[in-house]
Point group: D2
Chain length 121, copies 4
Amino acid sequence: MDDQDTLASLKSQVLEFREERSWKIFHTPKNLAMALAIEAGELQELFLWKEDPEILELLQNSTLAGRIQEELADILIFLLYLSEATGVDLSEAVKAKIIKNKAKYPISKSFGSNKKYTDLE
Amino acid sequence: MDDQDTLASLKSQVLEFREERSWKIFHTPKNLAMALAIEAGELQELFLWKEDPEILELLQNSTLAGRIQEELADILIFLLYLSEATGVDLSEAVKAKIIKNKAKYPISKSFGSNKKYTDLE
Amino acid sequence: MDDQDTLASLKSQVLEFREERSWKIFHTPKNLAMALAIEAGELQELFLWKEDPEILELLQNSTLAGRIQEELADILIFLLYLSEATGVDLSEAVKAKIIKNKAKYPISKSFGSNKKYTDLE
Amino acid sequence: MDDQDTLASLKSQVLEFREERSWKIFHTPKNLAMALAIEAGELQELFLWKEDPEILELLQNSTLAGRIQEELADILIFLLYLSEATGVDLSEAVKAKIIKNKAKYPISKSFGSNKKYTDLE
């Protein structure tokens, strides 16, 4: 559960899975980034050609929810491998990025706005 | 730190950031999937045209490590928003996917192999 | 102009550009596919967080049109390099795919529908 | 054949296919950009975990070539729809981009280099 598991705990589980199959040799940062991008494409495929109301309805009563869960899992799995391959602590990375984003998007200028920080006035 | 923070803790921090800016209206599952895919592309851009030995060297002594950290953070941030928007518990999703992958990739057939499960013999 | 230039003519121009810089060594099929995916992400970035009416309006009177033109050019350029690297004739590929798509999406079942062929009834 | 067909000719063929199915309503620029990115991911998937020598060998004697042809076709098809949706002439876009790239990558500085123009010295 997300309120109990740490990223380190999840990471140790995916590393064990890899170790058993001797796949580390394939997991260069470049290959892992490519793998993650492919999964991001598969996630997008679930929403293609659909409008938001249709998507929200499908989320309630269809197999879509299960497929989304699988794609989010795949993305997080490759993110954990990338964390290992590059030495990045994901939690610290997120916290540092929030601080940076607070400076890029001050509330006074970005409230309710869909503009990129380079276009804020 | 990844051995202390839970995903729920990180999620509450990114949700607070969003709440302050009233951006929830933009964060449909479809838009968030698109945002994550864009970040995956930016991550790939850091490795484009480079061979693995050059990448490993750059990881040691350059600004590349910092840029990778930022892209991994961006991807995890959108993953957390997607978790909220779709009701998926990321930790449970990863654990369920590992179980599924163990069945798709039995050690006896997949050890040391770069083949997709559909091509395993 | 699209009603005059052939793909072969455009391809010879991008190959000449590459030859002058001796970049062929970097243009493996895998690297080119990655480059194209990165450009596809940059194209998506131009539309992120925006609704269709806003996009249509921006297309009329802003710098967006110029940026779209550049991203479409980048994608076609890498497609031309991929054509060279893999020996695929793009025109024949498109015509063959249209024939295949006609079989996958018979008009009687797919008219006005946003469903994937695997979900058509 | 690429030395005969114009982009306009291919575009009229994909537009006819769409017209017969009344799909224009789904083809907003944003949706088309998403569709193209998904196809770019599928193209990458054909090369994932593989090294260049293995890819070159597979190109000679396997079903890989046919799958690559299909993915390149899908990408060009969505590029043609995007051209129509945004009013961009693809041939002119490529020629303009080559001119721009010549300025960004002068031969004297970029010959044999894999550096991005922002890193050229």
